[in-house]
């Protein structure tokens, strides 16, 4: 049984197929049809809703998410706000400004855009609009009609306007912590949601001990965190997943802590939750994370999920490999440490043993003379899967590369180091000739695929050129912008 608030009212779901997405539940079970399905894969944002999640202190964090790839069971203990909460005129400033600016044409993407703007408003309403934040908030909402200019203008206007709902407003929780009491009344321990007749099952343990126990008892179960990738098996491949164990509510796996010279990120920590502490240590992460998925995806997707998924184009693994980060794996036989690099055996094959799960990721803090470069290359700049992602940690001593670790995504069956290229650079001057030699060595390191994102030849050439970009970027004499994203 799960419990959550839906537009200000408590909902209890005793029994349901846990393969149901929040979107399907809304549209087919509740017949709340304001939230739309555009792709059922988390790529268009028409399904955007807002969830409010209480933290340990009871403060509620409101976020835009893709309801099409969020599983119903994950709503337990949360507040869900849909566009149906905003059907009384005059509406929220996001709505009135969208009308004034002619921000809707066909109107199908509009409820999702409204919800993204309302979430942004709830978190960042201020006297001066922030275009950067606005574009980030809209990065996961596709519109095919307007070309976006009126939507961006509407967002800019809305962000400077106050919104003061009555206490009875179905989305009043967005102002202050008005939903805190209601949410606090919900059971905080582990929960199970089951379909009728012993059908599929979803467990959401609340503690590490419970997780270990469930994982040992049901080694065939699938682990799920934000479900931003796993749910595609349900919505795109039409599979029924029989048993899911969610790590989302296991508090030991959530959050970032500093442990001496390492940053420790819990495996179930969403991107947006670790983005700031990680980027403060290693600033190269921030621009990459801004382009990893959309804000809706980053609100749900987790670091552990990105690694465990073992995709050759997962964007977090190459920089973690470059930084020589380690994984803490937990399971029936206790915890063990493993370099991220050693985790990947082959395409989607990992070192994870039955019953094991990723507990946390330990990332070394920068040492003097260490530079990190992360470059993501994709067809579209925002919310696109990388054709190539290069992550380079370079240690420089008096112009000489004393050490380096070069890791790439999109170049092999797994995220992988370029050992030949590293050898070409190690001990050499950090200059054009060495970079050229390293780029040539990449041809011995990798034999990439041609696929819908790029050809093998493009991947190889770009991988080498990214080293050249890193060289230019470390030259204090080059003051010009080096990437087109500098023109954002």
């Amino acid at each position: 049984m799960i419990e959550f608030l839906l537009n200000g009212r408590m909902e209890k779901v005793d029994q349901a197929d846990p393969n149901l997405s929040v979107l399907e539940w809304l549209r087919t079970k509740m017949r709340l049809t304001g939230t739309k399905e555009g792709c059922a894969s988390g790529d268009c944002g028409a399904c955007t809703v807002i969830t409010g999640t209480p933290d340990q202190a009871g403060k509620i964090h409101y976020q835009a998410i893709n309801s099409c790839i969020t599983l119903l069971g994950s709503l337990h203990g949360k507040e869900l706000i849909t566009v149906e909460a905003f059907q009384q005129e005059p509406g929220h400033p996001a709505q009135t400004c969208m009308m004034e600016k002619h921000g809707a044409q066909c109107g199908f993407c509009t409820p999702g855009i409204i919800m993204s703007l309302i979430a942004l408003h709830a978190n960042h309403q201020s006297a001066t609009p922030d275009d950067h934040k606005l574009l980030e908030a809209l990065s996961g909402n596709l519109c095919r009609c307007t070309g976006y200019r009126p939507i961006v203008d509407a967002g800019r206007d809305a962000m400077v306007q106050a919104w003061s709902p009555d206490a009875s407003h179905p989305a009043a929780g967005l102002k202050g912590d008005r939903s805190a009491d209601a949410l606090a009344s919900i059971h905080t321990g582990g929960i199970t949601l089951k379909a009728a007749n012993d059908g599929p099952r979803f467990d959401a343990p609340a503690s590490l001990a419970e997780l270990r126990e469930l994982r040992s008892r049901f080694p065939e179960s699938r682990l799920v965190a934000g479900s931003t990738d796993l749910a595609l098996e349900i919505t795109q491949q039409l599979q029924t997943l029989d048993h899911l164990i969610s790590v989302e509510r296991v508090h030991e796996l959530n959050g970032c802590t500093r442990d001496n010279d390492e940053l420790v990120i819990g495996a179930a920590t969403p991107y947006e939750a670790f983005r700031k502490p990680l980027s403060e240590l290693w600033p190269a992460f921030d621009p990459m994370l801004e382009r990893l998925g959309s804000l809706q995806i980053r609100n749900r997707g987790t670091l552990g999920g990105n690694i465990a998924n073992a995709s050759p184009i997962g964007d977090m693994s190459p920089p973690l490999i470059a930084l020589a980060a380690t994984l803490v794996l937990d399971g029936p036989d206790g915890a063990r440490k493993l370099p991220v690099e050693a985790f990947f055996h082959d395409y989607k094959q990992t070192d994870l043993k039955p019953g094991e799960f990723i507990h946390s990721i330990r990332i070394p803090v920068p040492k003097p003379g260490e530079k990190l470069f992360i470059y993501k290359v994709s067809k579209r700049l925002d919310d696109d899967i990388s054709a190539v992602l290069g992550a380079f940690k370079i240690n420089l001593e008096a112009g000489i590369v004393s050490d380096c670790r070069l890791a790439f995504g999109g170049m092999a069956a797994t995220p992988a180091r370029a050992r030949e290229a590293e050898a070409a650079l190690r001990g050499a001057r950090w200059d054009e000739a060495s970079v050229k030699a390293a780029a040539e060595a990449l041809g011995r390191d990798f034999n990439p695929l041609s696929d819908v994102r790029a050809s093998a030849a493009y991947r190889l050439q770009v991988a080498g050129n990214l080293l050249q970009r890193a060289l230019l970027a470390s030259d204090p004499l080059v003051r010009d912008a080096l990437t087109v994203t500098d023109y954002a």
């Binding site: 304001g34 555009g38 566009v83 905003f86 993407c109 519109c143 095919r144 290359v377 050249q468």
Partner: protein, 784 residues
């Protein structure tokens, strides 16, 4: 009938929301509050079933056997049908035959429906449809245009338009260049996928709620597959969640399948496509292979041209004949080609049948001449803008290669104005300075025009009907044959009607388009929606007004000229009667307050056998100046500023038109940049969702976008209030972005080499153009 002075600008003091004023989309609040209903949001009738189809996994094959037992046994399945279960016509080709609603024994593309399932849930229908066992005997498949040309496979015969003697002109020209290009297709990616809901009627007919740009065609084809007279089928379209041409013919197949299942089960059936199935099963913009051979003077003036356009049509004709025609009609874009031949091929491939998409072949045709403009400029060492300006149609050089004479010359002046307002020359010089010193990033600039012919090239489609009712409280209800897909047609027609009666816009309601209110409608396509339906609505209003004026003149004994409508009132001699009271009085005196209206576009004709005529009533004009910055290490780029000057004639609604222009431009930019359809060698589409097929996102819109409507430019033709069509032309303004990318790459060779850049210009293709430019430089050094 008395002609009313309607084709005049909005009076200074007027009712609210008349034509010419900005007005919000009529569904604006419903859109922003999630209350606008699309097909899948409609209340579900009792006993509703959900449809899915099983489709071919082979590009070209004979079906040896189909085993549907597992499909039938799947829990929730109520009916399974195949081609043999179709009581009426099997073929639902919209113009020419070739599209079986369900494949019989031959499949001609991956994704072609073979059987259909009705089940108690959407999920069950989709899962069941995957369980069929189909045995195929594979046949040779052509997937690309080149393969089709090699095998001489065509869905329709080639056509040629020829003016003068291009061969002689080419042979005698001081300069001659040849070039070729591939122009990619485009997925519509309407946010609302294809959908319909069909309810059986008591007469064994059906009522079809459809997301279609062409309800009359849905009605006709559903009647045909069911073997019924058309009057047993009604189709209704309230709105679409985007269309862009993708719901002109493609919606009918779903309605036919759902109707067959409704007939088989006698239950209502909903059929909506998942995004993946939508991308696999429905047609897209045609990709083209184009070539040019052009002769020109030393100043760049074109003397002769021989242009070939060849489209990948897919397995059936669908609308390809007219689409390739339109590509041919626009292979000149805005330029006088003098002695010219344009040949168009309709290549048959074993891929999904490509279909209408905003621009309808026109954009693909324009691309080849715009490439030639850049190439001529590089060849002569001149600015491409000067070459473009030199070749614009102007008086004395005003006849197209298909014989239509351009009568309203807007572009020469429009380009001058945009060149000045975009500060083209100064920025050109700044960009050259920047490129000389910037090591990695290069900027590019291009200013390109658009001239787009307005009318359906199939003459019979240039007609429309409308129905206007005035009720006794003065409120007005309008129906017309056009459909609303977000483009603002309903509000524009409502504004036309409000203007006719000089009443506030909120007295006028336009409701769902229905085949039983307006029969035999044309598709809402070809940018014609407001031209055709606005005029038909105006005609209906004129008929009502004519009766009202005669009545008022008799009733109050004044001259007809003394009955004047304005500001929600009617002035009758010295009396001023509020509109509602006037209407009430007319009603009490038994005056008709309802009328149908009709419009047929005048002047147009075209003879395909000679390739000549006047296919278009007029042309819409515009130009765009775009600046890009690109990364020579990765090929990544962004558009950083675009200035657009657009001739909307006397705009019916400048706010709505602005939205069409910006939206069309960005959609076109996606087509030419990041939107790449990738097929496997076997003909399987590999980009089947927004994860792999990338339409522009919010940050792709140029951060500096300046759009202006050309002022004081009424249409010289008698269109509705002398407005001009605005739906499709802006898409082609995005050619400026593609040309600016080529310009930026060309800076690597100091603008001496015109790099090849097929569309879409993905970062990979841009990097290939960079590589080609560097190779050109190396060659020059070596040969020097």
């Amino acid at each position: 009938m008395r002609r009313l002075p309607l084709n005049t600008p909005t009076p200074r003091h007027s009712a609210k929301g008349l034509a010419g004023q900005g007005a919000r989309h009529d569904s604006a609040w419903k859109h922003v509050s999630g209350q606008a209903r699309y097909i899948d949001d409609l209340p579900e009738p009792q006993g509703l079933l959900h449809a899915a189809v099983g489709h071919s996994e082979q590009a070209h094959a004979r079906i040896v056997s189909i085993d549907l037992e597992a499909v039938r046994q799947y829990p929730g399945v109520v009916a399974v049908i195949t081609a043999g279960d179709v009581p009426g016509h099997l073929d639902i080709g919209p113009v020419f035959p070739g599209d079986p609603v369900l494949a019989d024994d031959l499949v001609e593309h991956i994704g072609q429906p073979i059987f259909a399932v009705a089940a108690t849930s959407h999920d069950a229908a989709r899962k069941a449809a995957r369980l069929a066992k189909v045995e195929y005997e594979p046949l040779a498949a052509a997937v690309t245009v080149e393969q089709a040309l090699d095998a001489q496979l065509f869905v329709r015969p080639a056509q040629t338009q020829c003016r003068g003697n291009p061969d002689t002109a080419l042979a005698g020209a001081p300069n001659r260049l040849q070039g070729h290009q591939r122009v990619g297709g485009q997925e519509h990616m309407y946010l609302e996928g294809q959908a319909c809901l069909v309810e059986p009627t008591e007469d064994r007919g059906v009522f079809v709620h459809t997301s279609s740009q062409h309800p009359s065609e849905v009605q006709k084809l559903v009647a045909e597959v069911l073997g019924l007279p058309i009057h047993e089928v009604q189709a209704e379209v309230r709105r679409m969640g985007g269309g862009f041409g993708g719901k002109e013919t493609q919606a009918a197949a779903l309605a036919c399948v759902a109707s067959l299942l409704a007939r088989a089960t006698n239950r209502p059936v909903k059929y909506r496509l998942s995004r993946g199935d939508d991308m696999i099963q429905t047609g897209k913009r045609h990709d083209f292979l184009n070539t040019y051979d052009i002769g020109f003077d030393n100043d760049g003036t074109i003397r002769g041209a021989d242009i070939m356009v060849a489209a990948r049509c897919g397995y059936s004709p669908d609308l390809s004949d007219a689409i390739v025609d339109r590509a041919m009609f626009h292979a000149d874009n805005a330029y006088f080609l003098d002695q010219a031949r344009v040949t168009g091929h309709r290549c048959k491939t074993h891929t999904v049948s490509n279909t209408a998409f905003r621009g309808f072949g026109g954009p693909q045709g324009m691309m080849i001449i715009e490439q030639a403009m850049d190439d001529i400029a590089r060849h002569l060492g001149q600015d491409p803008l000067d070459i473009r300006k030199r070749n614009l149609y102007r008086p004395g050089r005003a006849t197209t290669h298909y014989g239509q004479t351009i009568e309203q010359h807007v572009l020469p002046q429009l380009l001058e104005r945009l060149e000045a307002s975009s500060d083209y020359r100064q920025r050109r010089s700044d960009i050259e300075d920047f490129n000389r010193t910037s090591p990695v990033l290069k900027r590019g600039l291009a200013l390109t025009p658009v001239k787009f012919g307005i009318s359906f090239t199939a003459k019979h489609l240039n007609q429309a009907g409308a129905l206007v009712h005035v009720y006794t409280d003065g409120s007005i209800h309008v129906n017309h044959g056009g459909t609303e897909m977000g483009q603002g047609l309903y509000i524009k027609v409502a504004q036309v009607v409000a203007s006719a009666f000089q009443v506030d816009i909120d007295r006028v309601k336009v409701s769902a388009t229905r085949t039983d209110k307006i029969p035999n409608t044309s598709p809402t396509a070809a940018s014609s929606g407001s031209d055709l339906n606005g005029m038909a609505a105006l005609n209906a209003c004129e008929k009502i007004l004519d009766g009202l004026i005669r009545f008022a003149s008799d009733h109050w004994s004044v001259a007809p000229d003394d009955v004047v409508f304005g500001e929600n009132r009617v002035r009758v001699g010295k009396l001023s009667v509020p509109w509602a009271e006037f209407v009430q009085t007319a009603y009490m005196n038994r005056i008709p307050l309802s009328s149908s209206g009709f419009y047929a576009t005048p002047k147009i004709h075209y003879d395909p056998s000679t390739g000549t005529g006047r296919p278009f009533l007029y042309y819409s004009h515009a130009a765009a100046c775009s600046e890009v910055v690109l990364d020579t290490l990765t090929g990544e780029y962004r558009a950083i500023r675009t200035d657009i000057l657009f001739d909307a004639g006397r705009s019916l609604n400048p706010d709505i038109d602005l939205g069409q222009i910006e939206g069309g431009f960005v959609q076109g930019m996606g087509w030419l940049t990041t939107e790449e359809l990738v097929y496997s060698d076997e003909g399987r589409l590999l980009t089947t969702g927004p994860a792999t097929y990338k339409i522009p996102a919010a940050s792709d819109c140029p951060p500096d976008l300046r759009v202006t409507l050309l002022e004081n430019s009424p249409n010289h033709e008698a269109t509705v209030f002398h407005s001009k069509a605005v739906g499709e032309p802006p898409l082609m303004l995005a050619i400026s972005v593609w040309s600016a990318l080529r310009d930026a790459v060309s800076s690597l060779t100091d603008y001496r080499f015109s790099p090849p850049l097929d569309a879409p210009a993905t970062p990979e293709r841009v990097l290939a153009a960079v590589n080609a430019s560097k190779a050109w430089l190396t060659d020059r050094k070596e040969s020097a």
